[in-house]
């Protein structure tokens, strides 16, 4: 089995109002000095067999087309055996 982990974050230049709201809440709960909070998503995808070759290329393509929107988001993908 292969476990694929895709992390998706808004690009740095895109306003993240949710992250800002979380930043405010952290401050209200006593956390000093919170400079910034950005909120993202993590996908954990379990696959049969190994991930290699064309199948890996397709997974990477879908991470860029479905799991994230390249207009506003960046993603990283890693595979855990």
């Amino acid at each position: 089995m292969a476990r694929v982990i895709v992390d998706v974050m808004l690009k740095p230049e895109i306003l993240d109002p949710q992250g800002r709201a979380v930043q405010g809440a952290l401050g209200r709960l006593g956390m000093d000095g919170v400079l910034d909070v950005r909120q993202g998503k993590q996908f954990v995808i379990d696959l049969e067999g190994d991930l290699a070759g064309e199948r890996a290329a397709l997974m990477e393509q879908l991470a860029g087309e479905l799991l994230s929107n390249p207009v506003i988001e960046d993603f990283t993908m890693r595979v855990e055996a």
Partner: protein
């Protein structure tokens, strides 16, 4: 003229959109997300709502629905398409329009009667308006903040593709007060506010929205 109105799972405003088409004098044709048959329609409306529950990102899953497999190439070939609210989100996710729609800067869902400035009147969906005309239609969205990189925004402005801008108040943080844009050809238009809710005096704040639906009929007559 036959105008298709697409229903996705979670679409809310398909009935109002179909009604607006009928009031404008067109024939509304129901299109189904799971069917790639466009039934030979002359134009398509992607209505508002929460298709696929807005899961993943608004419009992200709808983009891959069978009906979109037919609609995207047809739109690229010149078929007039109007995306309203969630429909605008679907058009951006499909890359038929540039940019993206993200969460309102206030984090609040906004529902209000919104004043708009109509800036471009040579698209298939806006030709019945006068340039510089001000209209009032309902706005209701949680993720209506239009974003694009500066180069894209400059390009949209330079090519006159901002079709409508928010007046008085920017309700959702959209860059440059953008409420609606078109593609370069002018056949694909995305709009965050809801003209289909402003077509009858009894239920709307105005009947200003009717112009979008009569425009497409005018376009057909002149074609």
């Amino acid at each position: 003229m036959r105008i298709g109105v697409v229903t996705f799972p979670g679409t809310l405003d398909d009935q109002d959109a179909a009604r607006a088409v009928t009031i404008a004098g067109g024939e509304a044709v129901a299109l189904w997300h799971g069917d790639d048959d466009l039934k030979g329609v002359d134009a398509v409306v992607l209505p508002g709502g929460f298709s696929y529950g807005d899961y993943l990102r608004c419009g992200a899953i709808s983009r891959f629905a069978p009906v979109m497999n037919s609609l995207v190439p047809a739109a690229q070939g010149g078929l007039p398409v109007l995306g309203i609210c969630n429909g605008f989100q679907v058009l951006c996710e499909s890359h038929l329009l540039p940019g993206a729609l993200t969460r309102n800067d206030s984090l609040h869902f906004i529902c209000r009667d919104q004043r708009l400035l109509i800036e471009r009147t040579d698209t298939d969906w806006t030709r019945d308006f006068a340039a510089g005309q001000e209209i009032v239609v309902p706005l209701k969205n949680g993720e209506g903040c239009y974003v694009a990189d500066e180069r894209t925004l400059d390009e949209l402005e330079g090519e006159g593709r901002v079709i409508a801008r928010y007046l008085e108040v920017n309700p959702n943080g959209s860059r440059r007060d953008i409420a609606g844009i078109s593609n370069a050809r002018g056949n694909v238009v995305g709009l965050m506010p809801h003209p289909e809710h402003a077509v009858e005096a009894l239920t709307g704040p105005s009947i200003d929205g009717l112009g979008f639906f009569t425009s497409i009929l005018t376009a057909a007559v002149n074609a």
